[in-house]
């Protein structure tokens, strides 16, 4: 069961001379819901851009499903090949605004499969149904609401049946009910498609409801100061910062 999917070793990330995190180590096991926590500005989004190959770390290695991704002489082609097994839901949805929802979801399929247009149309309809947006094929991203954009982005992230999905603050800007529905959706995807999930979030209810493993990034020390199952962390917090974070400063 607990096969490692992402293995991060000694990862140091910087913008020019400004080091954001130093010597970060963690492992995401297959079928984990792995939560990246931390105060605002500690570098969670930055970490995600490194994990998805957009930003080169200063040093350190990443293994993606056993394959080199950063370090170990990994090339851009290796990263592209690995990212084909991944889906990403961006903070804003990041749908391509000049294309309809159907075209957005179809693009990766056209790109990386030999399916016929009719088959692609069926798959697109299925993915939209899965996220509760059936019938919105011909809408442009500008014509739907923020929450719908997130769901459409999720449908696109799931287009190629990825083995791992990265989420950047999926519930930011959603009302509590939509946020809960999104959590349920994420859990369903994980259960039914056996996906590994890496998620950046501040939402405590989400963290406890869906997280199976986690790390807490600290902006002061620029390292990981805690890790493990969020519910366990809540029971025995290893330090005050994390206790503060998980209990919202109450207690």
């Amino acid at each position: 069961m607990a096969e490692p999917f992402l293995e991060i070793k000694d990862l140091t990330v910087a913008y020019d001379e400004n080091v954001i995190m130093r010597d970060v180590n963690f492992t995401v096991n297959a079928q984990d819901v792995f939560v990246i926590m931390g105060a605002s500005g500690c570098g969670k989004s930055t970490l995600l851009t490194v994990l998805t190959g957009l930003k080169r770390p200063l040093k350190g290695t990443e293994l993606f499903d056993g394959q080199p991704f950063w370090g170990n002489n990994a090339t851009k082609a290796d990263r592209d090949a690995s990212m084909r097994k991944a889906g990403i839901l961006y903070q804003s949805g990041a749908l391509w605004s000049s294309m309809t929802l159907a075209e957005n979801i179809a693009l990766p399929l056209e790109q990386y499969t030999d399916l016929t247009p009719a088959e692609i149309r069926d798959i697109v309809a299925l993915k939209l149904d899965l996220v509760g947006l059936g019938g919105f094929q011909d809408y442009y991203p500008a014509e739907i609401s923020g929450g719908m954009k997130k769901r459409a982005g999720l449908a696109r992230a799931l287009a190629l049946d990825p083995q791992i999905v990265f989420f950047d603050e999926p519930s930011a800007g959603l009302d509590p009910i939509s946020s809960k529905n999104l959590d349920d959706l994420i859990l369903q995807i994980k259960e039914n498609l056996h996906t590994t999930i890496v998620i950046v979030t501040h939402e405590l209810p989400s963290i406890f409801a869906i997280g199976t493993n986690s790390i807490y990034l600290d902006a002061q020390t620029k390292t990981v100061i805690a890790g493990g199952n969020p519910n366990e962390l809540l029971k025995n917090p290893p330090n005050e910062t994390i206790e503060h974070f998980l209990t919202r400063g109450k207690k």
Partner: protein, 375 residues
């Protein structure tokens, strides 16, 4: 009514009392505010009592004033106490002092010597030139992939970009180039009339427009219209993480976004140049026929005589070069746009300015080359 602050000092005990009264609102402030702050900055007392009994109403003005005074007290190690202040002020003050002020790295620009300044400019321009060069090279690589049918690009995108840079630009190009032809003819005719040589207006317009004016006017219009729109579109895609989404999907933004635009504009600019030439000649003819009283046959006969394939081709070469320059400048600014709304504005402006600067440079180089080769 307004705000009052009275400071009473007791020299003997090295103590003081500051009494505040009146309406402490943003739109009012006590006349002696600065004087009191100066007193607190160099205090002749070691204890101070602040009394707020007479305050009738207050807002951030009062809090800001108190924060200023109390931080001076803390700095100068003066004991202070607050008495009789309205409810809520103390907790706001606590809030203001709760987080220690962040020690920022000094962001102010240090004064540099002239040489350092020049050096920085040189380094900066060198870096910018290199970046532009790599951008052009990657676009070229993407073009080669396109020829080998390996580029990820949608045909529909290319076609709609062509339509946008072509047919949709016709009205504005028509208007401007017609007027430019008209102006040329008008200004030329004033001189030529003196010699009774109005008929040569047609030659003047034909040569000027085909050789360079058509291309330049077309270029300036397209820089403002299409180059700016490329920068704005790609820039906001950058802001929305859409470019990231492409990259992580293994789709090169050069193939998918830059190539269709560069192709479209490079293909359309030569055609637009020909069209602009035509419109310019029409503008000239308007003046020649309706204002100088030349007969249409004469006018167009002289125009045909003045037109030469050489000039037309030189114009088209200019136009093609401008097309590539405008598309590259627009896309470069868009792809390298920062992640906020004002960055998009900056990218758009920069796209237009850089396009026009580089068009001028290219014109100079082309003119020089044509004259060296005696064309």
């Amino acid at each position: 009514m307004s705000a009052f602050a009275v400071l009473q000092k007791d020299e003997k005990n090295r103590s003081a009392e500051l009494t505040l009264s009146g309406e402490w609102l943003i739109k009012e402030h006590p006349d002696n505010r600065d004087g009191i702050i100066d007193e607190f900055a160099a205090p002749g007392f070691s204890r101070v009592v602040l009394n707020g009994k007479g305050i009738t109403c207050w807002d951030s003005q009062l809090i800001a004033f108190l924060v200023r005074l109390l931080s001076l007290c803390r700095k100068n190690k003066v004991d202070y106490s607050l008495v009789d202040f309205p409810h809520g002020i103390e907790s706001l003050l606590d809030l203001a002092f709760a987080v220690p002020e962040r020690k920022q790295e000094d962001r102010s620009v240090q004064k540099e010597s002239c040489l350092v300044f020049l050096g920085n400019i040189a380094l900066h321009s060198w870096a910018a030139t290199r970046a532009a060069y790599f951008f052009a090279r990657r676009t070229y690589a993407s073009f080669v992939r396109f020829l080998l049918k390996r580029a990820v690009v949608r045909k529909g995108d290319i076609l709609s970009e062509i339509q946008d840079a072509g047919v949709k630009a016709f009205p504005i190009v028509s208007l401007i180039c017609f007027l430019v032809g008209l102006i040329l003819a008008f200004v030329g005719s004033i001189q030529l009339k003196m010699f009774g040589a109005q008929i040569y207006v047609s030659s003047l317009v034909a040569i000027a427009v085909t050789r360079v004016m058509g291309a330049i006017m077309g270029g300036v219009i397209m820089a403002g219209r299409t180059g700016a729109s490329y920068a704005a579109t790609l820039g906001s895609m950058q802001v929305n993480e859409e470019v990231d989404a492409l990259k992580t999907m293994g789709i090169s933004p050069f193939d998918f976004l830059v190539l269709p635009r560069v192709l479209a504009l490079s293909l359309m600019m030569p055609l637009l140049t020909i069209y602009a030439d035509l419109m310019g000649i029409m503008g000239g003819a308007f003046v020649g026929i309706f204002m100088l009283g030349l007969s249409p046959e004469d006018y167009f006969r002289m125009t045909l005589k003045a037109l030469s394939m050489k000039n037309i081709i030189i114009g088209i070469v200019h136009g093609s070069v401008y097309g590539v320059i405008i598309a590259l400048c627009g896309c470069y600014q868009g792809i390298n746009c920062g992640r906020n709304a004002s960055a998009v504005g900056y990218a758009t402006t920069a796209a237009v300015v850089h396009s026009i600067v580089w068009m001028t440079v290219a014109t100079a180089i082309l003119t020089f080359m044509f004259s060296v080769f005696g064309v």
